[in-house]
Symmetry: C2
Amino acid sequence: MADTYEKPSVTVDVLIFTVQENKLKIILVKRAIEPFKGSWAIPGGFVHKNESLEEAALRELSEETGVRDVYLEQLYSFGDPKRDPRGRVITVSFLALLPSENLKLKGSTDVTDAKWFALNELPTLAFDHKKIVEYALGRLRTKIQYSNITHGLMPDEFRLSELQGVYETILGEKLDKRNFRKKILSLGLLKPTGKMEVEGAHRPAMLYKFKTKETVLFD
Amino acid sequence: MADTYEKPSVTVDVLIFTVQENKLKIILVKRAIEPFKGSWAIPGGFVHKNESLEEAALRELSEETGVRDVYLEQLYSFGDPKRDPRGRVITVSFLALLPSENLKLKGSTDVTDAKWFALNELPTLAFDHKKIVEYALGRLRTKIQYSNITHGLMPDEFRLSELQGVYETILGEKLDKRNFRKKILSLGLLKPTGKMEVEGAHRPAMLYKFKTKETVLFD
DNA sequence: TGAATAGTGTCTTTCAGACAATATGCC
DNA sequence: GGCATATTGTCTGAAAGACACTATTCA
């Protein structure tokens, strides 16, 4: 009976997304120890005694990227008894979104290596991490359609065509420019900065920014 | 350092909903031991060593209701370090939906008492269970608008007016009968059984049933 | 003036929401 | 006939989606 109630370990795994070069990317770390030594895995670690789940996720995020002030959302908890060969480990997964400007990874701490991977070029993943990535991707695709979470992926100021590109990258389909602009502006979440961005041999674009950093659900 | 990584306990809490007499109800259990002895709480318990989170939730559900074949969905994990005065306890919450026919509660096992409570007549709850109930209610309200999860709340065969009543109860507002029927039938998830239900001094109603038990997301 | 991206409006279709009258069965 | 619930359709407004041309800058 005592055996039945043996305590599991609890970890957080943080799925850190960004959009870069029209690709949706995620941070993976190379495992330095067994099991799955040498395999790539979602960054994560044990929840410490006096921190909440979200605090643990923020700490892991900060360890990888040095950034704390990003969009963070709890996703789902994975607790199959056999998901970790070392013993019972339950993990609470989190979704984090980074603007494409903050892409420099910190010199890794307890892992040998950390790298950005395009979602369509993922290596084989350790544990059940493939399933976790798929869950996160599904949530991201669903949620950009009824919320403004893309603000977490954008720099402070951006062109509407950049924002459209982020939507297209995540959804994996082309969107009509006129309809996209009509829709996104009608939501009233963006404001023009008045500044124009001259970027090449073509007409300059107005720079926009989000009015609020808060997450807004449409409808 | 060893202290930092001390393992937490992990529980599941199951929010078991039904609709009865036009009221949305949930099962609560009276705590027989400290802390919060005598207070009402969401039914739940420790995750056993060799069961998944979902299996643990099904076991708790079965202990309370004797029923296993119901809609069950993981909601959210609550892990504030101070949420349980006895020590670190992380809980994974689940939403369960019961048809209004399965309302008899089992003679309680490790708890003194279990009762159905209308959501608008809840007693003071133990731990952070008020917050958990509110989270579940929010999820339920959101999700009935874009999925067929109400099938979990309906008996096998039912009148459209009963289904409409369930929607109205959960959303807390009256719906237009013609628009409701138009919408729900246009989804193509229901089929008429051909049977009529004679129930009183008025015109009998067609009985409908869900074509599939699977959860379907609209759009 | 050619290349590249920015910016803009109309039409059609679909869906949500407001709204009321007739049908059926029991007493 | 009176009562209670079942069943049905139209109109309007809003939003989604298809669709093409002009504007601006630089080389």
